[in-house]
């Protein structure tokens, strides 16, 4: 098993524990930061579209384990978000410090909306509600605060993968 996979597994377990023990208690307008969605976003930022899709899928799978929504909805959404962020990130020259923050905010907001949209297509009509745009913006803002830390962690995860590739 590659070092990257081991690191990613460790990070996802830690993120799941943090999400359901600490972050769940930090509520603004009834919503909490979505750490696993942010891991998917960070995957796109740190690793590009392909790794973004894989990291997003894995993060979504972890989120699905403890979610009440259909199993696979998070992995599908987060995989698409990771890929989308990676695609956009490829066209950005990272000079400004605020670009990852803005990406975290926008991608997390979009991820929440996409989740609800895909969920409603799968019969979870209650996920699409008028106040959802506001709630998504709050999640995006909360996630943006955590971007610097999470992006560094995901860089560390992906560096493990590169080290493994060089070692072969």
């Amino acid at each position: 098993m590659s070092r990257g996979v081991v690191r990613l597994s460790m990070v996802l377990v830690a993120a799941l524990v943090a999400q359901h023990s600490v972050l769940v208690n930090i509520r603004v307008a009834g919503v909490s930061p979505d750490l696993l969605l942010l891991v998917a976003v960070a995957g796109g930022i740190a690793g590009g579209r392909e790794r973004g899709a894989v990291v997003g899928f894995a993060a979504g799978l972890a989120a699905d384990l403890l979610a009440q929504t259909p199993f696979g909805l998070s992995s599908l959404t987060f995989g698409l978000v990771g890929y989308g962020v990676g695609t956009l990130q490829a066209g950005v020259i990272r000079l400004a410090w605020w670009i990852p923050l803005a990406t975290g905010l926008a991608a997390s907001t979009a991820g929440v909306l996409l989740y609800a949209l895909l969920g409603s297509l799968l019969g979870q009509a209650h996920l699409l509600r008028p106040e959802l745009v506001g709630l998504a913006a709050v999640v995006g803002t909360l996630n943006a605060v955590l971007v610097p830390v999470v992006v560094r962690v995901v860089f560390w995860v992906l560096s493990g993968e590169r080290e493994h590739a060089f070692a072969r």
Partner: protein
């Protein structure tokens, strides 16, 4: 010299991710809560339960700190409101005692000793759902403690909701305020029935199917109807009528009611082991 070549591998990876997710979704939908994905989820939830309990014990003060910091303004406003309320209550304490006696008498008449002889499982609320995903709470008791889907959940003053999902050590409760929740209720004063439907967290419930000429008193406490095929036993307080209006020519009254239980501050609840459909 490096040559840029647009690779199709990322798109192939994305396709793989999408197809795998769709396969998982299909397996989940086909299982309808009992298939392989439900088993995986139950196992994960139960395996995570002790970790979550331990983490809760360690991190709860951290969460409380953030809650306090984030809602400092609310706390100040709440303090001010409580001071005003205390002053008002000093003036009306005698009237309140009288009202309380009257209320107790009414409750006795309406037979609101709702737990009755139904066995119950006391349970701690370990998690409240994020506002994005509907109004549910997670309890620290599951199948091992005798909890089953469909069982009513009550707190001190009345109905909280019903169990919708159970694993060995955890259960999920759909609150009465969830838009997917509907509870058959009875108006004690008139004996008429209606359906209390949720409208989202922190809000009132809407009572449907109330005839225009039905007598509805503001402050009246609605109780579960317990009609045939009802999901709840009769007589559990659900909500207190806040407003009732009937537009001319309308087929039903527009009734809003506030849940009798403070659903935002739930810590301990009781699952009634009732399956009397």
């Amino acid at each position: 010299m490096a040559v840029y070549r647009r690779s199709s591998r990322p798109r192939f990876t994305l396709l793989l991710v999408v197809l795998t997710s769709i396969t998982l979704l299909t397996l989940d939908q086909r299982g309808s809560g009992f298939g392989v994905m439900a088993t995986v989820r139950d196992a994960a939830r139960d395996a995570f339960a002790p970790v979550q309990d331990a983490a809760d014990a360690v991190f709860e003060p951290v969460g409380d700190f953030f809650q306090g910091a984030l809602h400092y303004g609310d706390v100040e406003a709440e303090n001010e409101r409580l001071r005003t309320q205390l002053a008002e209550q000093d003036r009306t304490v005698l009237a309140a005692r009288d009202s309380d006696r009257e209320r107790r008498a009414l409750l006795d008449q309406q037979d609101l000793d709702f737990a009755g002889d139904i066995p119950a499982v006391a349970s701690r609320v370990v998690q409240m759902s994020d506002a994005r995903f509907g109004q549910t709470i997670q309890l620290d008791r599951g199948r091992d403690a005798g909890v089953a889907p469909g069982m009513p959940v009550v707190a001190g003053r009345g109905l909280v909701g019903r169990v919708v999902d159970v694993s060995a050590r955890r259960s999920t409760v759909l609150l009465v305020t969830d838009p997917a929740s509907s509870v058959g209720v009875r108006f004690p004063l008139s004996g008429d029935v209606g359906v209390a439907a949720g409208r989202g967290r922190g809000s009132t419930v809407r009572v449907d199917l109330v005839e225009p000429d039905s007598v509805v008193a503001r402050g009246e406490i609605l109780v579960t109807s317990g009609l045939d095929q009802s999901a709840f036993p009769a007589g559990i307080p659900v909500a207190q009528v806040r407003a009732a209006t009937a537009a001319t020519g309308a087929l039903q009254q527009d009734v809003t009611a506030e849940p009798v239980v403070d659903l935002e501050g739930l810590r301990v609840v009781k699952v009634l082991q009732w399956s009397g459909r």
